[in-house]
Assembly symmetry: C2
Homo-oligomer: 419 residues x 2
């Protein structure tokens, strides 16, 4: 055990830990016979144990003091577990239908005990690769985004509560710095961590590094990411952070959570849907194209933004005379002005969403961490072709985002670039 | 004495306090005979004692737990002394020529001991009313703004240091809330605290409250003020927070300091210069107009922005390969891109400056706290005439700020509105 009381859990220690922690023992009905334990951490940062007993189940997630896939050479604060547990609890309070319940948190051991999201839930990204439709996905994820973002913004909070929460999450700076590096920096410079489908995309990757206008716009996004504390973000809301069945949508892994610009979360989700879209041709079997499925993805992109917009505005209307201090009712009390204010707010948010979404796409094609949507396309030339279309679209979206005025225009552009 | 150890100082207690505090005793050469003590707090929040002894002098500033001018009915955290002392020390480190040295800080007693800014220093606002020219003012204040804002921004700091400082100053939320109320809220609604030169400006004040576009734009500025942690601001940099002689410029009273948008500081200063400009006709004696002095104020406005611009860019160039993480050298390494990036940064800052400056002007004409520049014009109709011109200019500047591309255009507009 380290001097700070931290100890990585193996299976044996895990069982001892479960037995000695009442809130976790209770979830297992205090039966420890025939516990089925499986380590499933396919992320890069943590141990994740699924524990299934005869009368209950749970998940134990333990943060490790380094990034696991690279070994102990890339240290990463295990304090992120504290922020992950904080976001899970806060977002869970705001949107319990779509966030797993936290049973237990141990700051010394960096251990979160939480609800096991049982089969047939799978990671959304895998569902998108398999071509599975989720009829409630847009409804659910828009609900999650609208509620978590609205209720942690100044549209709902007093500036006192907002500043105090902002201060707390300033502590998660190491994870923010990881995002700054992999999203806003590495793809735009020569970096040992970058990779891409070589040699096909060599010129494309170089073009990203040489594109002054792109880099100018990326700087604006990075500055918003670093400076603008708008709402409590998930911080990594890609399609690998969402577990789904046709009836259920659960958002996991908010260890990158902090107060940042709302568009970063919405953009992460929509950007990853767009990556999924561009990868579809690579998954088309002989005779069975993915054209219908692409249309479904387009519909999810449209619905996600449109439903988010509707729900967010509905929350705003519901609480317009509440404690939020961005737009005091005594000032913003006439319908015409209310409409102007909302239009401006949502337009700015839309442009942020497109910008951050595009940045998240670019980094998945020429940066360190790629997505299975493309990686699972075995034939390199075919993969490169899909990636290039996605990259070209993302570059245009990032640079031209302020010229887009509706999500319909965005999906038209997606379809044009896919031709 | 209160249970928290706090005790308001009267003269007798002050002398005891000085005797028992080595860092302060030393500044007085340990001589306490014939101490000359004067309470000069003409602000609204504090006791300010000037202490002059036979072999040294100092100032003692004590924060009180309420706003003094309104009595104990408007409570205000005395913790602001901690933030004031923190800003004085940080800004003093960055720009010692223009910030008084802190000798001592006592968090329990909310007492700051600092250098006495001796005569012939006077408050700049009084000098502007008297029509005195300060040949080094623009050079000095631009130096102060460039250094304090640059060195506390992400152009110089790592995101780690920046976020840690942001978190600390989130604690000064009560003072931020006071600004939110008096700058961004009260002037735009009916408020018991508002006043204006009545009946002359009754319709003008109402027009401010009814101006949808103005209120839409004010909301954008308020959101930046609340959400954007760009640099460590003074937070109240009007012409009453600056003491001057022809050779010296000293910035005092940063108790509103926090991490916010840079344009709020620059705008406060320039906005108050513009108020001074529009007040000049009210101070013209028979036969002695203020036309030459108005030209001098215009020159100071031009020089302040232009020198700030030059010095800020020079600091940026000097540290472009340093620790600042906004624009990593490996990405922003070509001259054309560097020029683009700076142009965009400074243009955004310019527009913020104009917006915040205009908001600070408006609140001084129709909000709770007015400025002596206008208040000292005895004849109400004459005062109202000056104020109306200033108000109309400020409304236009706030709404049209993004259409101004240089400070020269701004001063042309000032001169047009003054006709």
């Amino acid at each position: 055990m380290a001097s700070d009381g931290f100890q990585p859990l193996d299976e044996k220690l895990l069982v001892e830990y479960l037995k000695s922690t009442p809130s976790l023992s209770a979830k297992l009905g205090n039966h420890f016979d025939k516990l089925e334990i499986k380590e499933v951490g396919d992320g890069n940062l943590n141990f994740v144990y699924i524990v299934i007993g005869l009368s209950g189940s749970l998940v134990i997630k333990q943060a490790l003091p380094y990034i696991r896939c690279i070994g102990e050479s890339w240290p990463m604060t295990k304090e992120r577990a504290y922020f992950e547990s904080s976001v899970l609890q806060e977002h869970g309070r705001l949107c319990p239908d779509h966030v797993p319940e936290v049973y237990h948190f141990d700051r010394t051991m960096c251990v979160i005990g939480m609800r096991y999201i049982e089969p047939p839930h799978i990671i959304l990204r895998k569902g998108l690769i398999a071509g599975i439709e989720y009829p409630l996905l847009a409804d659910h994820i828009s609900e999650y985004m609208a509620r978590t973002l609205f209720y942690t913004s100044l549209l709902y909070l007093t500036t006192t509560d907002h500043k105090s929460a902002v201060a707390k999450f300033c502590g998660n700076v190491e994870l923010c710095r990881l995002t700054e590096q992999v999203v806003f920096s590495d793809p735009y410079k020569v970096s040992e961590y970058n990779r891409w489908t070589t040699p096909y995309l060599d010129a494309d990757a170089e073009a990203v590094r040489e594109d002054n206008i792109l880099k100018l716009e990326v700087a604006e996004l990075k500055s918003k990411f670093c400076e603008r504390a708008q709402a409590l973000l998930h911080g990594d809301l890609h399609t690998g952070s969402v577990m789904v069945t046709p009836n259920s949508t659960q958002v996991i892994d908010p260890e990158f959570g902090f107060y940042g610009p709302m568009g970063f979360d919405i953009g992460a989700f929509i950007g990853n849907l767009i990556l999924a879209y561009f990868s579809q041709d690579g998954h088309a079997d002989k005779g069975a194209d993915r054209n219908l499925y692409k249309k479904w993805i387009v519909k999810i992109i449209l619905d996600t933004w449109n439903l988010f917009h509707t729900k967010f505005i509905a929350l705003w209307d519901k609480h317009k005379d509440g404690s939020g201090e961005a737009y005091l009712p005594a000032i913003y009390n006439n319908p015409e002005l209310q409409s102007l204010v909302k239009q401006k707010y949502m337009e700015d948010l839309f442009h942020d969403t497109l910008g951050f979404g595009a940045a998240k796409m670019i980094r998945r094609i020429v940066g360190v961490a790629h997505v299975e949507d493309f990686e699972s396309i075995k034939e390199a030339s075919k993969r490169a072709e899909c990636e290039r279309k996605a990259l070209n679209f993302a570059k245009t979206l990032l640079k031209e985002r302020k010229n887009f005025h509706s999500i319909t225009e965005v999906v038209s552009a997606i379809e044009d670039f896919n031709k």
